[in-house]
Symmetry: C2
Subunit: 192 residues, 2 copies
DNA sequence: TGATATTGTCAGCGACTGATGACATCAATT
DNA sequence: AATTGATGTCATCAGTCGCTGACAATATCA
């Protein structure tokens, strides 16, 4: 018990900078995703990480620096299936569960810093669009770049409205049902 | 000149409560839409309305009260075409131009007060969903409520990502091109 | 004209936020 | 063991925010 490498324990092993960094990153991801950038406070992030908020400034320069870092990391783009239906299902599933990636929130945000916009663009492009565009091109879909981004945009809209409960039927419907209804829609988007 | 009913003039006609109310509503709509609820400040709204910010509290109780009021009014649901393609085109067009309705922002917002969620729900339902559902039902589309909300959700995602520029191709593409690509997609959503 | 309610102005309060810098604590090296 | 750099803690600052209450200006009506 009380393993020295205990991660989520109440007592932080002192003077372990990499553990502190990661704790802040994890907590930041969660809080930014749950509350959005503006509502998220450095004090809240620090508390959830079990770390003094002042360390955000030390390791990430400022709040926005931590935000940028959370955007970059986190999503391990393991063996994703880039078949359009499967990818939409993955995105909706991922963004349905809060606390993992603030990218969907950034994509849906009204105002973005230049740095953040650039970061989001490059992450989404690298992790999702690049290979999705390839798949669409193989299928002979016209304007594959545009259609790939449209698929991501659709996922964003669905995830956000499902999360905040403004569209009641959509929010209440089980994910399977939503995805089933979307099947032919995605096919139409990916058709030649 | 210097008409007594001059609305955007530098000098406000004194003691005209209805004009003041409307000025605050208009400015609120614009600022909430441009900046989102959190970034919008009562001082900024007051300045744009040419009105002392303290009057927000008098006429709308508080900032959120003004926000609720902006959600309710504004959109004159004139002779809308509820044919799905046309409706999506209308929504994307409307939400492409900032400063008119903060509803899209509310739909894309991560966290919502109960009051705001309820207001957004009822406005969207009354103005858009109700008749769109009818059209979908006439067409024999299954789960017309779900599909109607999916169309709105798609419009939200597209509008937000286009506005913040995170998806570069989609943001840069002319609206016509985007809507053209979406035509078959909407048809698939509305198909029986 | 004088009395009264409505409307607009202004200064400032209390709370919160991100950030800073002085200080304490720890660990590694000599 | 002593030194030194790295790491963590804390109090606090400066700025911003929504909101309030006292007061001034205006309109309405007797």
């Amino acid at each position: 018990m009380t393993s020295i490498a205990d991660k989520a324990s109440t007592r932080r092993r002192p003077h372990d900078s990499t553990a502190t960094r990661r704790a802040l990153l994890d907590a930041g991801r969660t809080v930014f995703d749950e509350l959005g950038y503006d509502r998220a406070t450095t004090r809240e992030i620090g508390e959830r990480a079990g770390v003094d908020p002042a360390l955000i400034a030390r390791y990430f320069d400022c709040k926005e620096g931590l935000f940028l870092a959370t955007l970059a990391g986190g999503a391990d783009d393991e063996q994703l299936d880039f078949e359009p239906r499967a990818l939409l299902a993955f995105l909706v599933e991922r963004w349905d569960e809060r606390g993992h990636s603030p990218i969907s929130r950034a994509l849906a945000s009204p105002t973005l810093t230049d740095d953040v916009r650039q970061q989001v663009s490059s992450v989404v492009s690298e992790r999702l669009l690049k290979r999705l565009v390839e798949v669409l091109r193989e299928r002979g879909a016209p304007e594959p770049e545009l259609r790939a981004e449209l698929l991501v945009a659709m996922a964003v809209g669905i995830a956000m409205t499902r999360a905040n409960g403004t569209l009641e039927t959509l929010s209440g419907a089980p994910r399977d049902e939503v995805l089933a209804a979307l099947g032919p829609v995605v096919d139409a988007l990916a058709a030649p």
